[in-house]
Symmetry: C2
Subunit: 209 residues, 2 copies
């Protein structure tokens, strides 16, 4: 390694770490104070970064918002991947997958995404950033759910039931922001899982599925 | 009628009409500009009411917000009642009810409610107003859905399937704010109606149901 590359690498790492801190601060503020309450001043304070340094990394508020939208989307994808790692097989598979999806849509990452969706509804510039990312993560979540449930999508109605399951957990997540009721959610998800199994595996699941 | 009551009645009517205009303006602004964009100045402009008159009817922003939350909730209840008036009976009943619910959660009244829910998530004072009204309209919607579907709630899982149906349409409504896709929504709702019928009326619906 030459002197010039060794000097450049730490600089790149510092830049990456600084950007990461600012996006993480913006994420936390979205969860705590909502989109309207997430000002650039609060973000720099929370991140412990000077205004000058912040403006160096994100010259406009839009730059910071775009980076934060991408950051939140990446966190959702990561959360999803790590949640799928420890799912059981066999009879209880569907219940476990549906419960897991329910949890993905009730945590702080969901709250941050919700703030961005709702702000984008009345902000066309933000919508242009949010919509394509939402489309991509939506497709990825769908693909993963089909795989986890071991569903054959050529089966009549299977595709719509998977989509419906994802819309169900989105709706449960939204209700949860007003009235957190984990027991109610659990009962609904478990019944949904039983109904899904009856519709998609009428002959019953095999243990080795 | 004495002179004094005849003078008072028009005054009461004017007051009611003026409050109604201000709440309607606030409602429209919630839909168009979101909660953060709904300022008291814009509300008086939109309603064509002087700031003085507005302050007479709603001394603080909180007074106006509370009245608007109630107004939006009443509009949701009215929309629901009028939507249920023309539902068919017989085989297609479940599909019609589920489609009707889907429509209730995609219009401007849903958007206004969504803005209030999400603002309430990070605003404890607003949450105190929104949560009990939400609870009441949630119970009313549930009761009406059970009645419309002709479901016996003592049946195993029936209660959870109705709740799940309402969470599904809430989730579809939220998705709709980012990516309006009426065809996708229709396919999901129709499939869910078939699944619901299979789960709740395994022997088939009778035409006179």
């Amino acid at each position: 390694m030459t002197a010039s590359t060794s000097a450049r690498v730490p600089q790149e790492e510092r830049t990456r770490a600084m950007r990461q801190r600012l996006m993480e601060a913006a994420f936390e503020l979205l969860v705590e104070k909502g989109y309207g309450g997430t000002t650039t001043t609060l973000v720099s304070e929370r991140a412990g970064v000077s205004r000058g340094a912040q403006l160096h990394h994100f010259p406009t508020k839009t730059d910071l918002v775009v980076a934060t939208v991408i950051h939140v989307t990446e966190r959702r994808a990561e959360e999803m991947r790590s949640a799928t790692a420890s799912l059981p097989k066999g009879q209880k598979r569907t219940e476990a997958v549906v419960r897991m999806l329910g949890e993905l849509f009730t945590g702080p990452v969901f709250s941050a995404a919700l703030e961005l969706w709702v702000a984008a509804r009345t902000d066309p510039a933000l919508l242009e950033v949010v919509a394509p990312l939402e489309y991509r993560i939506g497709r990825e979540t769908h693909r993963l759910t089909v795989e986890l449930l071991g569903i054959d999508e050529s089966q009549q109605g299977a595709r719509e039931l998977v989509q419906g399951t994802l819309d169900l957990v989105r709706g449960l997540g939204l209700a949860n922001t007003i009235n957190d009721d984990a027991k109610r959610r659990r009962r609904i998800l478990d019944q949904w899982a039983r109904t899904l199994d009856a519709a998609l595996h009428p002959a019953g699941r095999k243990d080795d599925e």
